[in-house]
């Protein structure tokens, strides 16, 4: 099994910086803006985007973490229940523009679940979606507002996003899905 590196540490850093500029540009500043990472790897990415915004705008938007486990529509299809990692939204979501951050956009089901979860906390004025990698194969009418890299893939491939916080390295790999392993 050979994994191919499709984003290096530098690629990953540059993508985060670019997304941070796009967010500010699209929102028209940093006022009433919050960044929310989807557990797990969306959370460190959300913090990095917020840090980048803080550097070039002088104001760091608040960051939250969202666990979408309870909103997944596939719980009856998994062999074991995912372990819940926790939701922490240290702000009132009402009237804010919330940028949801995740590592990979694939079927769109996670993004949908994230939107459902956010709605339970209030009524944001807008929800946007930022992802590091868009690998295609959408099953729902969802698209990302900000994409680090578009990667054409086949369904028997897997995109592995590694971040320093969990994996000791920043990189993105494209790997072949072993027959016994779960789709990512």
């Amino acid at each position: 099994m050979t994994a191919r590196q499709i984003m290096t540490t530098d690629d990953l850093r540059r993508a985060v910086v670019r997304i941070s500029h796009e967010i500010v540009e699209k929102h028209g500043g940093t006022d009433r803006l919050a960044i929310v990472g989807i557990q797990r790897r969306g959370v460190p990415l959300a913090h990095r985007i917020a840090d980048a915004i803080g550097q070039h705008e002088g104001v760091r938007p608040p960051v939250g973490a969202l666990d979408i486990t309870f909103y997944r529509d596939d719980l009856s299809m998994v062999a074991h229940q995912p372990i819940v990692k926790g939701t922490d939204l240290p702000f009132d979501v009402n009237v804010l523009t919330i940028v949801i951050v995740d590592d990979v956009l694939y079927t769109g089901r996670t993004a949908r679940a994230a939107m459902d979860a956010l709605m339970d906390f209030g009524r944001p004025s807008a929800i946007r979606l930022a992802v590091l990698v868009d690998r295609g194969h959408r099953e729902l009418p969802i698209r990302a507002d900000h994409v680090g890299k578009n990667v054409p893939t086949s369904r028997d491939e897997i995109v592995r996003v590694h971040v320093v916080e969990f994996d000791g390295v920043d990189e993105v790999l494209l790997d072949r899905l072993p027959t016994t392993e779960a789709k990512a």
């Binding site: 309870f70 719980l75 009856s76 229940q81 372990i83 819940v84 339970d120």
Partner: protein
């Protein structure tokens, strides 16, 4: 999702929750961690998530119990499950239909999970034998009350200084012999390293010293009729409900004598630590096993127990619902 993270999600392996003696310390930790997340949901403006949408939870109670039944019902509804309530008095169970027939009927009506309360020890095992879904034991005879023990543990971890029960002296006081709450707490608390004491009149402790003696040395369990010795230095005391039937059974002379010798009162509680917590699984007989001044006391965590019960039962419904034999991968995307 990486393989490493994938392994993390393989945490829960129990198709049913029939007894707590099957749960390892890491299983119990997982329940506690998940319950913390459920408690977060309970704090939201709308304490409800769609997790178990389309899942039918049948609450089948052969014994009257408002608090446990309602707690399960609220927990299931907070997870968006469809709840069907069957109380023994209003169904054919009183007309002599066998338990096995009832379970098969409930299954035919679409139940995915059964929460069961029964007066006979072991009845949930029979249900699990014939039901193709999941069975949660809501209390069986004298045997087990797993969700109560887990919510007791959750409450203790929440309220004890340091947030752990390991090394803490915890006392269960009263009718141990007939108590499923005591039996389940014996497992969870000794598994988590508590120094557990059982105290009550000798007639209500029959057989328990033999159990204490047979346990491996890493489980600490002491059985005594001496209330003062039991309470000395205790971090928490759980008083059990005393049933009227015990007098008719010749096990005790009178309620009055019981409350004088084994009642938890402001006076007897002085033998425990100054910050000792007071627990009771409810419903309380104030003035019998627990003095009214204690029941409403600031260190009483009885209302915490009730509130935590919902979070712990949500956690268990969630974990058990995903423990099916269904094969298939993560579709996280």
């Amino acid at each position: 999702m990486t393989p490493r993270e994938d392994a993390l999600t393989q945490g829960w392996h129990h198709r049913h929750l029939l007894d707590v003696d099957m749960l390892s310390a890491s299983d119990i930790d997982l329940v506690m961690r998940t319950a913390v997340e459920m408690k977060e949901i309970l704090g939201r403006p709308i304490p409800k998530v769609p997790t178990l949408r389309g899942t039918q939870v049948t609450i089948l109670f052969y014994e009257a119990s408002t608090r446990t039944r309602v707690s399960f019902e609220v927990a299931a509804k907070n997870l968006s499950a469809d709840v069907v309530n069957i109380a023994a008095s209003s169904s054919s169970v009183t007309k002599g239909e066998s338990l096995v027939d009832t379970i098969r009927t409930v299954e035919a009506l679409g139940a995915d999970m059964i929460v069961m309360r029964h007066a006979r020890s072991g009845a949930p095992y029979l249900a699990a034998q014939v039901f193709s879904g999941h069975v949660l034991n809501g209390g069986d005879g004298w045997h087990a009350h797993p969700t109560q023990a887990l919510l007791d543990l959750f409450t203790l971890r929440d309220r004890l200084p340091g947030g752990k029960v390991a090394g803490r002296k915890i006392v269960i006081l009263g009718d141990i012999l007939h108590s499923r709450v005591a039996r389940s707490n014996i497992w969870t608390l000794t598994t988590m390293g508590a120094d557990l004491w059982l105290c009550g009149p000798p007639t209500l402790l029959r057989g328990l010293e033999r159990w204490a003696g047979a346990l491996p040395s890493n489980r600490r369990l002491t059985v005594t009729t001496d209330l003062r010795a039991a309470l000395r230095g205790a971090h928490a005391v759980m008083a059990l409900r005393l049933q009227q039937e015990r007098m008719a059974g010749g096990l005790l002379p009178s309620l009055r004598e019981y409350s004088l010798r084994y009642g938890l009162t402001a006076t007897t509680l002085r033998w425990a630590r100054a910050d000792a917590l007071v627990m009771h699984p409810g419903p309380m007989n104030e003035g019998v096993e627990i003095g009214p001044e204690i029941a409403a006391f600031e260190r009483s965590v009885v209302t915490d127990q009730v509130a935590n019960g919902v979070a712990v039962r949500m956690a268990l419904l969630y974990l058990i619902a995903g423990s099916g034999p269904i094969e298939g991968g993560e579709t996280h995307g």
